[in-house]
């Protein structure tokens, strides 16, 4: 299955990569793209279905005279030269996903935005789920009119109410154990029936239907209902993204076999075809054997825009283990010289070093192979930094419920609420802020000031052989505590330091991601690709790669030396609001306004996990340091904890009353800190939360979790600011907690 998806995903990427330059007038830049990560796709076997798609893409390319691209794609897909022609007309007429995407790049007006979005979301929605559900219709009909035409079947509009009420009555009378499960049907049914009414121009009936039954829906769907409520005319449906999401992706429900049979029997008895048709066409019911789930179990997992994740979607093996740390010989010689006087020092170091060494010798069975994705080689400066890190780590405080971290709060003054993003370097020496006025500012929080490199003319004068050449290239005259970098043309929503502290990434409303040099404090590259606001960006823990995600609903993986993305992760149904790299750099997690979290495999570009359960847009993500767990925070003020290996929700932390903008695990993973718009930092006992897990086989197999409501026990501390929302958190290498925010006073 994975292999098939690999082929699919790659096809998407290829088209995007190759068509964009052509639109800009460059014809031949595609040769280099994907070299870094192009290991897998070439060898994937192609199923007939995929072949059809590929052919369509090829056809399109050929029509646009992109012969080189045609060649490459064909070679990679392993298609014979003459395979193009027979189906050409067909696929061109249908307007494939790829075609839709390209239209946008060339046009760029409102209607093409729509088709682009359609294209990407429909293509993406299938990427992870393909093969289990798709009858093939969804993929080939991303066009709006085609999508909507599914609603065209006529029924008596006045009967809709009756049908719905009938079903409601039935579900209310079934046995308790089934009621909760069957109640899940209400919301998608309600939406689809309403949309059908609207589509068929039964405006007043639609309104009446909405007013009558919208109150029955679960409160966490309120946001969507509000959007739906505005939608009262067929014309509105044309541009509405929410609606398109609903249409192009099947709403997924998990129902036990017994309950499903019950429902099916009822509908067949009553000849209730209207509803049955909707269930058949627009819902995907994931039937499982065993006990029906309880109301709380269902509530825990539901809430996303497109229902729950299918169980199959979370079955792929995820290598969540950490990579082996490169062995670094500690230069103990000069160390010893320093520490000769006090003998305690080297002694302290050695056991620590041994433990680090022994840890790295044992290969984690869950870890990906070291070269699964190519990682940049360590430079000397990186090694020095690693050594610094180890030194600091020996002084680290062991945190725990009895030993909470101190918090240092960095308040941005005079920012007039314009601060939109903050990041700190791993060694906590620099802090960067992205502002609504398009600036990026960097502060040094140590006495060491920020300096620029000397100008080229001055650099010629210095002795390049000298030992302190790195010191000499810096211009003392430019030393200051902070530097401002100009370049963006819109609010800067995401910011991230490279691990080696030489670069800074920023993503902005203007659709670009910029790479800044922290040696010259100038912009090096503007990565263009997202044409809409880029909400978040983050460097890989090993540098070189970075991920970005934004309003266009796709996350992109980039390498700093490629100006085109290496991977495009598409599948989310709404804006991607936050992106995070897994500690082993092999996976990327994205949180979205569609209230799901997806985990993507960097190697194949596939979605390997879908986590549902949040009831609002997700604004923060954090991986535990051991890579096993993921924490996510959303506008609903809850933090959810996920077991990546099993693909399960393992905890819910309630306490915040507003959006959680920042989550961070302590360096050893004992404590989870969450910072929120409600002006508080809360500390949670992560160890306990993860230890208490009941991961028996049954739970793992069915994915039905029983969450204990133990938030209060896990909450270790709450720290309130006067009026400063917490938008960033960071643990120093010694486990001091740093927080940042802008005063609202």
């Amino acid at each position: 299955m994975a292999a098939v998806q690999g082929g699919m995903g790659d096809a998407d990427i290829k088209t995007d990569i190759k068509t964009e330059p052509s639109a800009d007038g460059f014809g031949n830049n595609n040769a280099n793209d994907g070299r870094v990560l192009s290991a897998s796709p070439g060898s994937t076997p192609v199923t007939p279905e995929d072949q059809q798609t590929l052919l369509a893409v090829l056809q399109f390319l050929k029509k646009n005279k992109l012969t080189e691209s045609v060649e490459i794609l064909r070679r990679e897909a392993g298609l014979p030269e003459n395979s193009l022609d027979p189906k050409a007309n067909e696929s061109a007429g249908a307007g494939s996903g790829g075609a839709a995407g390209i239209v946008d790049l060339e046009g760029g007006d409102a209607s093409s935005l729509l088709s682009r979005v359609t294209g990407s979301s429909s293509a993406g929605a299938q990427a992870p789920t393909k093969g289990t559900v798709q009858s093939g219709s969804g993929r080939d009909q991303p066009d709006v009119s085609v999508v909507l035409s599914a609603y065209s079947q006529q029924g008596d509009p006045t009967l809709y109410k009756v049908y719905y009420r009938d079903l409601k009555k039935f579900i209310e009378t079934v046995l308790d154990c089934h009621r909760a499960e069957l109640s899940q049907v209400f919301y998608p049914l309600f939406v689809h029936m309403y949309l059908e009414l609207v589509y068929n121009n039964h405006e007043s009936e639609a309104k009446a239907f909405f007013e009558k039954f919208s109150g029955d829906q679960e409160c966490y769907y309120e946001e969507d209902l509000r959007i739906l409520s505005g939608l009262t005319k067929k014309e509105h449906m044309r541009g509405n993204e929410t609606l398109l999401d609903f249409r192009t992706s099947k709403f997924v429900l998990r129902i036990s076999r017994d309950s499903y049979q019950l429902l099916k029997r009822h509908l067949q008895e009553r000849q209730n075809n209207q509803i049955w048709n909707i269930i058949q066409e627009h819902l995907y019911i994931d039937i499982f054997d065993g006990m029906p789930r309880s109301k709380s179990q269902i509530d825990a997992m539901s809430g996303s825009l497109a229902g729950e994740a299918k169980r199959e979607a979370n079955k792929t093996k995820v290598y969540y283990g950490l990579l082996k740390e490169p062995e670094i010989e500690l230069p103990l010689d000069d160390e010893d010289e320093e520490a000769e006087n006090e003998e305690g020092k080297p002694k302290k170091k050695k056991p620590k070093k041994d433990s680090v060494g022994s840890k790295s010798k044992k290969q984690d069975p869950n870890a990906p192979s070291q070269n699964r994705i190519p990682l940049p080689e360590l430079k000397d400066s990186d090694k020095l930094d690693k050594i610094m890190y180890m030194k600091e780590a020996t002084k680290r405080i062991r945190l725990g419920p009895d030993n909470l971290p101190s918090v240092c709060f960095y308040t941005f003054l005079n920012a007039y609420q314009g601060l939109t993003a903050v990041d700190l370097t791993d060694d906590s020496s620099l802090i960067a802020g992205g502002f609504a006025d398009s600036t990026v500012r960097v502060w040094s929080v140590t006495p060491k000031k920020l300096r620029k490199v000397k100008s080229a003319a001055d650099l010629n004068l210095i002795d390049k052989e000298s030992d302190d050449v790195l010191e000499r290239i810096m211009d003392e005259k430019t030393a200051s505590e902070s530097k401002i970098m100009y370049g963006h043309s819109g609010p800067v929503y995401g910011i991230s330091f490279s691990p080696d502290r030489n670069y800074l990434l920023s993503s902005s409303e203007d659709g670009t991601v910029r790479l800044w040099s922290l040696l010259t404090f100038t912009c090096l590259v503007a990565y263009k690709g997202h044409n809409y606001p880029v909400w978040d960006t983050q460097f890989s823990p090993y540098g070189y790669y970075f991920v970005s995600g934004g309003h266009d609903r796709v996350a992109r993986l980039w390498a700093t030396d490629h100006y085109q993305p290496l991977r495009i992760f598409s599948g989310h149904l709404a804006d991607i609001t936050c992106t995070r790299f897994h500690p082993n750099s092999n996976y990327v997690a994205t949180g979205s306004s569609d209230r799901t979290i997806r985990l993507w495999d960097v190697l194949s570009g596939n979605c390997v996990r879908i986590f549902t359960g949040h009831k609002g847009p997700i604004h923060s993500l954090a991986f535990s340091p051991n890579g096993k767990f993921l924490a996510s925070g959303a506008t609903d003020g809850r933090v959810l904890l996920w077991d990546i290996g099993h693909g399960l929700m393992v905890g819910e932390l309630k306490g915040h009353t507003d959006t959680i903008y920042s989550l961070r695990f302590s360096r050893d993973g004992e404590i989870l800190a969450s910072g929120s718009m409600d002006n508080t930092v809360r500390l949670w006992d992560a160890m306990k939360a993860f230890d208490d897990l009941e991961t028996d086989d049954f739970t793992a197999a069915t994915g039905h979790i029983h969450l204990q409501d133990n938030s209060q026990e896990l909450l270790l501390g709450t720290y309130t600011t006067k009026s400063t929302p917490v938008i960033h958190l960071h643990f120093t290498r010694r486990n001091l907690l740093l927080a940042a925010g802008v005063s609202q006073l």
Binding site: G108, E235, F409, L413
Partner: protein, 619 residues
């Protein structure tokens, strides 16, 4: 509730009148009613859509308020030209007008006279974005007392985020939940106060005696130190904790002098900080070891001084609710009664109890005199265990004699019979007897000599002074050193006049200085600064070993520091040398700056020295 709201959402549509008004404003008259309805529905829908997108921008902008720029951005997202010019932050720029049955909201655009704008003075330049670090600290052992804050309180640290975050050592131990136990309210300090705090604390523990005196003077007299009180009290308690471990006698003394100064300040209310101060003071009284070389350093003086502080705070702050006095008494008694208690602690306990007043002496100490005497006897006359024990025993003995004599003098009827005493008080009896007799005669002569706060510190090797370093190597009988306060020691020639002539038996001199209303700290300055002017030192040799105050000297020394001060009086008194003063004979004098209690407004400087030292005073 939610349902209602939702239904409202459903039905909210702009009124058709608005459409008409809009149409008219762009020159389209006579709009059909149907068109109006269609338009208003369409417009309402689009506005909702834009509002929803704008909310997205608000969320990503990490704000709670929707701004016009959010709407601009949402419009951009839809490829619609933003409404430029609506930059107002809070204020809604619409005006309402009604008339003729029509209601209208309009945007008021006044005609602006350019010259007005040109002529208005420029507004203040807005401040640039800056970064400030504040800290919520979890640990008790903070090196930076400025940052101890209880949770929930955002406190200002220093400016520009320059310092703490990364550099503060977070490698220290923490105490569980300590913060929650401390209901102190710390207030933010202004920059001036921070500077003041820094200066004062540095001066108090620094090496310059003059500065210290000035600082203590400031603590004892300045009003408005209340804001800094929590910091001072933390400073002291932390300082004691650290320096007890390091056996840094000098610093402990300085810190106790700070406590004294704080107590003397009439504007400060120490009640709330006693929980930090009292443990610190008690530590200085009873700690097993307070100095590096207990056999030679005079830590007894510190114990005496701290005991007096303790007594004073008991007197001032003990209430029926906090029961300080009884708790302290219990603590002292308990450790005194323990057989295993070391002599140093024993001394501290007795001193602490004795200072609490004659009642305590009568009920707690006197009944135990016999037991204690036996213990002392065991050390003094038994096999020599260790020198330290012996010295301890000697000190305890003299302490007991000193305090009990006057009480017994009042308790017992006149004829003092040695044998009677021996039966009553055991080993100490005979000595007591003679002391009591002396006390009786003395009481008759000078009743006013009681109850002075005194600190006597004698150090064989003034380690603080640079000048002594040359001498410190000598291991034999130590060179008697100078009668000077240490700060002046550093000023002096490194080689004080060597007393070559054999020393006569040691004598104790008490230098008393009185000045009207001036706090003692200032007097120390005077003392040290007037060194060069010689009157003080020159008086010393003239004191002979009589019991009476010998010299009253008035010095209006010419040093600039003291010029403004009222006349200083130095009274040099000599006390009978105690039996245990063999050590002290070799010692020079450490500075004392005990402020006088309000009762007697004087200060005693107790010194013991070999008269030979006087030779170096300029004549």
């Amino acid at each position: 509730m939610a349902e209602e709201r939702r239904q409202k959402h459903c039905s909210v549509v702009l009124p058709t009148e608005s459409m008409k008004a809009m149409a008219e404003s762009v020159g389209v008259g006579q709009l059909q009613e149907d068109s109006c309805v269609a338009l208003s529905e369409e417009v309402s829908y689009r506005i909702k859509e834009i509002a929803q997108d704008a909310l997205k921008f608000m969320h990503h902008g990490k704000r709670r308020k929707l701004t016009t720029s959010d709407i601009d951005n949402a419009l951009k997202l839809k490829n619609v030209e933003p409404l430029y010019g609506f930059q107002s932050q809070e204020f809604i720029p619409f005006r309402f007008a009604s008339g003729g049955g029509r209601e209208l909201h309009f945007y008021e655009e006044k005609e602006v006279d350019l010259s007005d704008i040109i002529n208005t003075p420029l507004p203040r330049v807005p401040l640039d974005v800056s970064l400030k670090a504040t800290k919520e600290q979890q640990k008790a052992e903070s090196t930076e007392p400025l940052k101890v804050v209880k949770p929930g309180q955002e406190e200002e640290g220093t400016i520009q985020g320059k310092s703490q975050g990364t550099t503060t050592p977070d490698g220290k131990g923490k105490e569980k939940g300590l913060i929650r136990l401390k209901p102190r309210s710390t207030h933010e300090l202004s920059v001036e106060q921070q500077l003041y705090y820094k200066e004062i604390t540095e001066a108090c523990v620094g090496s310059c005696e003059a500065k210290r005196a000035e600082a203590l003077q400031s603590i004892a007299t300045d009003p408005g130190l209340y804001q800094m009180l929590p910091r001072f009290s933390t400073f002291i308690s932390e300082g004691v904790r650290v320096n007890v471990v390091q056996n840094n006698l000098a610093l402990l003394i300085y810190l106790m002098r700070m406590v004294k100064a704080l107590m003397d300040n009439p504007t400060l209310y120490l009640e709330k900080y006693l929980h930090e101060l009292i443990p610190a003071v008690v530590t200085c009284i009873v700690s097993k070891q307070l100095c590096l070389r207990p056999d030679v350093d005079n830590h007894w003086a510190l114990r005496d001084f701290a005991a007096r502080l303790m007594a004073q705070s008991c007197k001032t702050f003990s209430t029926t609710t906090n029961n300080i006095q009884s708790r302290i008494t219990k603590t002292f008694t308990k450790s005194w009664l323990d057989d295993k208690t070391q002599w140093t602690t024993r001394y501290g306990c007795i001193a602490g109890l004795a200072e609490l007043g004659s009642d305590v002496i009568k009920t707690l100490i006197i009944p135990r005199l016999a037991v204690e005497g036996a213990r002392i006897k065991a050390v003094m006359e038994g096999p020599v265990v260790s020198n330290i024990d012996k010295i301890g025993a000697e000190h305890v003995q003299s302490l007991l004699l000193k305090h009990c004599a006057s009480v017994i003098a009042k308790l017992r009827p006149q004829p003092d019979n040695v044998d009677q005493y021996r039966t009553d008080y055991g080993y100490l009896g005979p000595m007591l007897c003679s002391h009591v007799m002396k006390a009786r005669t003395q009481a008759a002569l000078q009743a006013q000599q009681v109850n002075r706060t005194t600190l006597t510190i004698t150090q064989p090797r003034p380690t603080l002074s640079v000048s002594q370093s040359g001498l410190s190597g000598s291991s034999g009988p130590r060179t008697p050193s100078i009668i000077k306060v240490p700060s002046s020691l550093t000023l002096m020639s490194p080689r004080p006049g060597t007393p070559s002539q054999p020393s006569p038996p040691a004598t104790k001199y008490i230098v008393m200085a009185t000045s009207a209303g001036a706090a003692s700290t200032q007097q120390v300055i005077t003392l040290s600064s007037s060194q060069s002017a010689s009157p003080v030192t020159s008086t010393v040799p003239s004191a002979t070993s009589t019991l009476q105050p010998l010299v009253k000297l008035e010095s209006g020394s010419g040093a600039g520091l003291t010029a403004s001060r009222p006349l200083q009086k130095y009274i040099v008194v000599s006390l009978p040398s105690s039996a245990s003063s063999s050590l002290e004979t070799k010692s020079s004098v450490l500075p004392t700056s005990i402020s006088s209690s309000s009762l007697d407004g004087g200060m005693k400087l107790e010194r013991s020295e070999s008269p030979g030292a006087s030779t170096q005073s300029p004549h």
